[in-house]
């Protein structure tokens, strides 16, 4: 049976494609290692299909440095659509991850990440100002889907806590059993 580099066996595979538009302020390497261990320890192989820095025109850079618009279940805002259109030819399956300079839902509301996406465009947006846990958290939302409740947990030992900035540095938050049961039903998970 296939195992990942941390020795976790592969029951299912989570294929992600990571596209950077901005330099993350969090430790990118730690974010990836954490996601590998978190999903891997639950039998889900964290499979990175591609990691790319996107080359944008000057106009695109200005427009997409900060993603503006609503972050809601099962829909994209216009700039999320623009992001996805940049890479859709490169993705045949899996979930796109965009690392951007910032995310704003209004002139005042700043987000660390957004997992809302149109049903046929599976993607998450992670702000460069997020934490090393934000990427794994947003992918958790995509896998759990809008039907799962509660959307956020209050314990900082759970990766789906509201606000990963509340997770102590160096700790390893997990999913609970109910979340794992739901995640393993996700249509986004592939065979190993």
């Amino acid at each position: 049976m296939k195992t990942d580099k941390h020795g976790n066996k592969c029951d299912q595979r989570l294929l992600v494609h990571i596209f950077s538009l901005a330099l993350p302020q969090f430790d990118y390497g730690k974010a990836i290692t954490f996601a590998e261990k978190l999903y891997g320890s639950n039998g889900i192989y964290f499979d990175i299909g591609q990691q790319q820095c996107l080359a944008l025109s000057a106009a695109q850079q200005v427009k997409l440095d900060v993603i503006d618009g609503a972050c809601k279940w099962d829909q994209n805002n216009a700039e999320q659509d623009d992001l996805f259109n940049l890479v859709k030819a490169k993705i045949y399956s899996g979930i796109a991850v965009f690392i951007v300079g910032g995310i704003k839902t209004s002139a005042t509301d700043t987000l660390a990440g957004c997992a809302g996406h149109a049903p046929l465009k599976p993607a998450v947006v992670v702000s460069a100002t997020g934490t090393m846990y934000t990427l794994a958290h947003e992918l958790g939302h995509v896998l759990l889907t809008s039907s799962y409740s509660p959307v956020h947990e209050t314990s900082n030992s759970n990766i789906m806590i509201n606000g990963t900035h509340n997770i102590p540095a160096g700790s390893s938050p997990t999913f609970n059993a109910s979340q794992i049961t739901q995640i393993k039903k996700s249509k986004h998970l592939l065979v190993c």
Partner: protein
């Protein structure tokens, strides 16, 4: 005189109990829409003018208004209904509405930023 006073108090007690029972009956009969509206109105009254510090950029933002329709009745016990607003991002609100008197207790108010 003392007898009259006791009679008055006894009558008052009966009225108070009856009122409470009526209130409980009325509250227990609330529809889902009425429950959600009650929580939305109390949320607006209690938290509508408060500011919350956004943990990402540390700016102070006003707690957003939440339409009654966006609340969800998530469960009930013998004594309360549980009502929640649990979005992907925005204000997280969890409240309990007493079946006895309709009082709304807010169990959690938070701001989801990811």
């Amino acid at each position: 005189m003392l007898g009259a006073a006791l009679l008055f108090l006894a009558a008052l007690h009966v009225v108070t109990t009856a009122d409470a029972e009526n209130a409980m009956t009325e509250t227990a009969k609330m529809t889902e829409d009425q429950l959600k509206l009650r929580v939305a109105e109390r949320y607006k009254a209690v938290f509508g003018a408060l500011y919350f510090q956004n943990p990402v950029d540390h700016a102070y933002v006003r707690l957003p208004e939440i339409p009654a329709a966006d609340f969800v009745v998530t469960g009930q016990t013998d004594r309360v209904w549980s009502v929640a607003h649990d979005p992907l991002v925005g204000a997280i609100v969890r409240a309990s509405v007493s079946k006895a008197d309709g009082l709304v207790q807010f169990d959690q108010i938070d701001l989801a930023v990811e």
